[in-house]
């Protein structure tokens, strides 16, 4: 999966946040809508679309969407 496609999939787990706010550099934990429910959604999204299992701790360790993308690819 390409980075842009990942950013797109990432944004689709949010309902109320404007799509323009999602870029590789977005510090996603600063988004108002980000909470433990979104975290659960993201874990499932990564599992479904990339076949990788990540944890809540992995999400906490990543700052930007690109960090997460790189982390998932390194697994």
């Amino acid at each position: 999966m390409e980075l842009n496609e990942f950013v797109q999939s990432f944004s689709e787990e949010f309902e109320d946040t404007s799509k323009e706010l999602f870029t590789p550099e977005t510090e996603f934990k600063n988004l108002d809508e980000y909470d433990s429910l979104i975290a659960l959604s993201l874990i499932s999204m990564v599992d479904e679309k990339m076949g990788k299992r990540i944890t809540g701790a992995d999400l906490r360790a990543c700052k930007t969407i690109e960090d997460l993308f790189n982390f998932v690819n390194s697994k």
Binding site: S36, A39, L40, S41, S44, M45, E48, L59, R60
Partner: protein
């Protein structure tokens, strides 16, 4: 001194004994004098539990509860027992929109189908003595409350609690008692691995428990020991919440 809570001269089968609540039940039951038959998937971790058992005459069987042949092996290999504590359980925290058949089948297979089939085979083969006791480790989840992403787990635990009541009635003729315990949040790997909360959020969450802490595996083990012992001779079909008062609020 007479102690009605003692498990002396009782042989107890404990599944899911390689970690968490099951491990604690095995170890604490051995301290109460029971002979244990412990099963678990992971040979190394099961051995670790085995080494912690007090006393002698214990047995260990490596078994994967999702494989019917492993359930059959357990039943073939064990002697007659006085008690059976079922703990083998898994979870995966998934919101409804991300549920998949494979995950659902995996959870139901371990948490619901396997314990029912193991109970059936134990009964059919006369492995549980008259006056025996069966205890299912169920959950608050699916019986009293539920958290986000726990739908599949809740379904599996609600189902096993329902089965426990049905079995309690069917087996009353043989004076075999069937009860279940419903723990809230217990400090185990199962919980730690599946939580998406930060350390601070977990600290905060403990404040919602009237008794101001999460449970320890031993908190559940002592309740299971009560149900396995003769102290609970007239208790069947019961369902004990062990939640530090969580559901009071």
């Amino acid at each position: 001194m007479n102690n009605p809570f003692s498990l002396k001269n009782k042989t107890i089968l404990v599944t899911g004994a390689s970690s968490g609540i099951g491990k604690s039940i095995a170890v604490e039951s051995s301290k109460m004098g029971a002979s244990l038959i412990i099963t678990g998937r992971n040979e190394e971790r099961l051995e670790e539990t085995y080494r912690q058992l007090e006393g002698e005459n214990h047995l260990k069987i490596v078994a994967d509860m999702t494989k019917y042949e492993d359930i059959e092996t357990i039943v073939q290999e064990i002697p007659q027992i006085d008690g059976f504590s079922n703990n083998a359980g898994i979870t995966q925290v998934v919101l409804v929109k991300h549920i998949k058949q494979s995950i659902l089948e995996n959870i139901l297979s371990t948490n619901t189908v396997a314990p029912i089939l193991l109970t059936q085979l134990l009964i059919k083969n006369g492995k549980i003595r008259k006056n025996g006791s069966i205890v299912f480790t169920s959950s608050l989840s699916g019986n009293y409350c539920v958290h986000y992403g726990e739908g599949m787990y809740a379904a599996s635990k609600g189902a096993i609690s329902g089965f426990a009541k049905g079995a309690a009635l069917d087996l009353s003729k043989s004076n075999i008692r069937v009860n279940s315990v419903c723990p809230g949040i217990i400090n185990t790997n199962l919980f730690e691995t599946n939580s998406v909360l930060t350390k601070e959020e977990l600290e905060e969450k403990q404040k919602y428990f009237p008794l101001k802490r999460f449970g320890q595996p031993e908190d559940v083990a002592y309740a299971v020991i009560y149900f396995l012992s003769d102290a609970s001779s007239w208790v069947t079909g019961a369902d004990l919440k062990i939640d530090g008062g969580y559901t009071l609020l």
